[in-house]
Symmetry: C2
Subunit: 371 residues, 2 copies
DNA sequence: CCCCTTGCCGAAACCGGTTTCGGTAGTTTT
DNA sequence: AAAACTACCGAAACCGGTTTCGGCAAGGGG
């Protein structure tokens, strides 16, 4: 039957000839499996000389333990889980490659691997996540795109599985996280615009369900306060997460009786919509209307003028998240695993001193539409 | 001791309380583990009634087999491996999210998962790959970015581990693949430019190590032949994989005594360099010089004029690769797992009838530089 | 009525590791 | 010198599944 099986052309799984097992190492040295196992795992009841002999022999024979064979007893598969939501259009395209690179690199330092899965929507993410938990495909999870109320967090917390968030959430109990201080970015953006001479500065937030949207609004308001500008609720547009929504948000803001001369955006993609709107309204970005956003998407660099924005180092984020999650899995309490990193400003051409006052801008827009 | 362990604050791995095992299911029904196992895995020597009782009980108790527990005996971890090379700048940024989405989606249909890793260079990819093979982290691998001479292929072939390529390679023995017919794209691009009236059509290939570069050059030459245009080796530039190289390749081509009025590019990013070159030389893309490329990167849509290119459906590619690899792992011979998909043309503004002849273009460039 | 199949399932080995439990030899204490 | 430790390692159980082997009962053929 063996022969028949082989003749079907079926590959016999990996490593056709039987690999070297712990028993082989043990036999080679005339000790038992248990001794080898304890020696290799650093148990204290193994003589130093023995440990050395064993690790040398393991090296020489090319022994590599099978993580899934270990897992059956230890319950650790040495893998980090990552469930991504890939939805239409937006999603974190450029972000992804570097982020994954960071995660995998940090993980492989400890000889861990990444188990990755995707889903279309929140529902799908939850289902996929619990499937991975049920089948124990990973020892812990990295949660990107955290929401103020996050069902994933509650699920994992309830089931007592380790996780770390890329972002923050409303209820921090039991949570570890790494995040970029988007609030600082928006504070800086606002004060920067103010010091350029802008008096009416608007903000287009991200989706209300995301924690970062709330934080960035706070940063915007802090910036206003620091610049001594009164907060005007009219200058906060409805949420915009993509080009189209950014376009209409911009138009709405410019249609105000006292339009802003500068707009801050929670996300770059929405800011790119402002370019469309400006073009349609015959305004020039960086002259008639200034823009600062956040994310650092590559398209921003090729826009005309270049989009001034805050870049996030997603590679570093991936690295930190992976190493922190491994620590978490090894027992470090979540309260000790919380890190915030600063965003970095990338100055391009979209933010300049205002060429017109708000009133002049309003006037120009009015006469123009009358044509 | 249990208590002491728990009190360290260490999370006890996943699923704190002991999960339901195959033994639980067996005991619940008063049968043995072996019966349950065979029933659930569709062995023929289990009565239909029994199989039904067992699968119902498994469902009711919420039994999910641990893939790593199965793996220890079966040698199958139900996971597909993917080692990505993430190098500086270029790399397949936008491609990645959709590709991964496709792969994971197809894999999860069969309840398989993806184990992903990254490396900086070819050397690193090979090392990572063999580590994953040694530790049997995946049952098979998807190889993107295939080279004419691909060390990964040789390694995997030698070790008899299943794999499938995204792309083709010089020696196809034992290889399964899925690929987009880039040669067809370049053939179409060339004949299209010819029918627009272009007589001098150039080509800027990709890196010579990639299989697709060779194929696309062949497609270009086929297109020339079909259009009845003589092949001129001068019109094949040195390889260009990014904006900067595309810029200088374009300049070199335009500096020829008989410059091309149209240029085809193996990759979009290089074509975007032509926009820079054109701008610097005071030429207009889509008027003085036409361009068609290949890849479908998002920046191409925002270039001015939009870049005419061939889009690859990387999500579909991921799906096909995953399902084909699973078939391969299950024993389908590689010769039966070879698929080629057509690219789709995206018409934008970069390809138009020539405004000037080659001679006129040369004249203009000469006088211009003289200024 | 006996023998031989066939269908179905239990018993036990097995996969490759980890971990518990003792046991032996050497060393220290009394 | 006997007793009590200590350091080190072997024997065996164990983890959660899969797979081999064999046995029993029912059915069919002679």
């Amino acid at each position: 039957m063996q022969a028949a099986k082989a003749s079907t052309g079926a590959t016999r799984g990996l490593g056709g000839r039987s690999r070297v097992t712990i028993a082989d190492v043990a036999e080679d040295l005339g000790v038992t499996k248990s001794t080898v196992s304890r020696a290799l795992n650093g148990y204290p009841d193994i003589a130093e000389a023995t440990r050395l002999r064993i690790s040398r022999a393991a090296e020489r024979l090319g022994y590599r333990p099978l993580s899934h064979a270990q897992a059956i007893r230890t319950g650790r598969v040495r893998s980090l889980g990552l469930v991504l939501q890939i939805d239409n259009e937006d999603s974190a395209r450029p972000f992804l490659a570097n982020f994954i690179a960071g995660v995998t690199q940090a993980a492989s330092l400890e000889n861990w691997t990444i188990t990755i899965a995707t889903a279309e929507d929140e529902q799908g993410v939850r289902e996929t996540l619990s499937r991975l938990v049920d089948e124990h495909k990973a020892d812990g999870f990295i949660l990107p795109r955290t929401l103020l109320q996050d069902a994933r967090v509650e699920t994992l917390r309830a089931q007592n599985v380790p996780f770390i968030m890329f972002g923050r959430t409303a209820d921090p109990t039991g949570c570890a996280w790494y995040d970029i201080k988007g609030e600082d970015a928006l504070r800086t953006a606002t004060t920067r615009l103010a010091s350029l001479g802008h008096k009416r500065i608007a903000h287009v937030p991200g989706g209300a369900e995301y924690t970062y949207s709330k934080l960035r609004i706070e940063g915007y308001r802090d910036g206003l306060a620091a610049a001594g500008i009164a907060y005007d609720p009219e200058l906060i547009a409805p949420p915009a997460m993509n080009r189209r929504a950014g376009d209409s948000a911009t138009r709405a803001l410019l249609a105000l009786p006292e339009p802003p001369t500068a707009i801050t955006f929670a996300v770059d993609r929405a800011a790119l919509g402002a370019y469309q709107a400006a073009h349609a309204l015959n305004l020039r970005i960086g002259a008639d209307i200034s823009v600062i956003a956040y994310d650092g998407v590559p398209e921003g660099a090729y826009a005309n003028p270049g989009l001034t924005t805050f870049e996030v180092n997603s590679r570093q984020a991936g690295e930190r998240l992976a190493t922190m999650l491994i620590e978490r899995i090894r027992g470090t309490p979540p309260e000790e695993l919380r890190e915030l990193a600063p965003p970095t400003l990338v100055e391009r051409g979209s933010d300049r001193p205002p060429r017109l006052t708000s009133a002049a801008l309003a006037e120009r827009l009015k006469t123009q539409t009358n044509i």
